[in-house]
Amino acid sequence: MPLSRDIDQEILALLRTYRPSVPIDSRTFLGAEGMGLDSIALVEVLLECEEHFGVTLAADMLSAGRITAGSLIARVRALLVS
């Protein structure tokens, strides 16, 4: 089902508010070797996504290991479609 929202851009825009000076694309890690978010900022990003998109994703994403902008986008997209 096509989505009317440009989820990619919404999430990338949200991520850029946390690290305006870091170039962010779908392969960028949110934590180490990427945006460099610490554990608190990482939880905050996920909570903000949950609130913004009306989904629940933080527990699943955090237990799955390292998170990239692309994996976050894919997760939000999958939850919205389902």
């Binding site: 934590g31 610490d38 554990s39 608190i40 939880v43 290991g65 390292r66």
Partner: protein, 268 residues
């Protein structure tokens, strides 16, 4: 006595503590005071005065002795916990009913003062489910849900998120406030800087849960676990101010680890 002799005595007392805690821990306290008197170190009187400049020579020497005594008791306690597990501790630890029946959501902030390793002995008796965020071997107790805060940033974030869900479910979360695995907040404290872990403050911001400081103190009868009033604001400055007042009232509750972290931050 040589350092090796003191260490051997500590090991002996740890073994004795399981059968005769009422004898072993006071002896450990006396041994620590003796060690401090003989060596004039761990800590030196001058080091105590750098933290508590209002204390005179004899008062600061007494506090140095008390810190040495505390250190030895804690050493014996840690070894006893490692050898025998938390069960023998249960008979030693007391806590007021007001603490055991504290309602959630609530964040209990612990600090590296007093008999900090004994806090878990009281937490296991709480009426409300308790989740402990643990760094290293801290709070190695049985009847608690424990989330390790070790590992990479995702693992630490996962532990924090579990704590968040626990609070939203009306539970109690215990956070070591002055131990940071990653980012820490350097907060003015006793003329130096105390490095506080930001987890407790983030959880309070996300959930609105109050932060209640908790400490454990050696007494003649054993160990008392005590809670302070909820912090007036969920900020590092409020936590540091509470702890500063506590240690100004009870300077002998300063642990060697905290004293060293404050006086020699470059060693961390």
């Amino acid at each position: 006595m040589s350092t090796r002799s003191f260490d051997a005595a500590t090991s002996l007392l740890a073994r004795l503590s399981a059968r005769r805690p009422g004898l072993a821990y006071p002896l450990a306290g006396a041994l620590g005071a003796l060690r401090n008197r003989v060596t004039r170190r761990w800590p030196a009187r001058e080091e105590v005065q750098r933290l508590f400049p209002h204390l005179g020579r004899s008062a600061s020497a007494r506090v140095a002795s008390a810190i040495g005594s505390l250190h030895e008791r804690n050493l014996v306690l840690i070894r006893a916990l490692a050898q025998k597990g938390p069960d023998p501790l249960q008979h030693l630890v007391s806590a007021p009913e007001s603490l055991l029946s504290i309602a959630g959501p609530c964040i209990l902030a612990t600090f590296h003062v007093g008999a900090l390793h004994a806090v878990g002995g009281a937490l296991a008796r709480f009426r409300t489910p308790v989740l402990a965020l643990r760094l290293g071997h801290f709070l190695a107790q049985g009847a608690l849900e424990i989330q390790s805060t070790e590992g990479d940033v995702e693992q630490r974030a996962s532990a924090l998120h579990c704590a968040l869900l626990h609070l939203r479910g009306g539970g109690i979360v215990v956070v070591p406030a002055d131990v940071a695995a990653g980012t820490s907040l350097a907060t003015p404290f006793l003329g130096h800087h105390l490095r506080l872990a930001p987890g407790a403050f983030a959880l309070a911001k996300w959930t609105g849960a109050p932060i209640v400081p908790v400490v454990a103190r050696w007494t003649r009868e054993g160990i008392s676990v005590l809670a302070g009033d909820p912090l007036p604001r969920p900020t590092p400055e409020a936590a540091a101010a509470w702890l500063e007042r506590y240690l100004l009232d009870w300077p002998g509750e300063t642990t060697l680890a905290m004293l060293r972290a404050l006086l020699y931050p470059e060693l961390d």
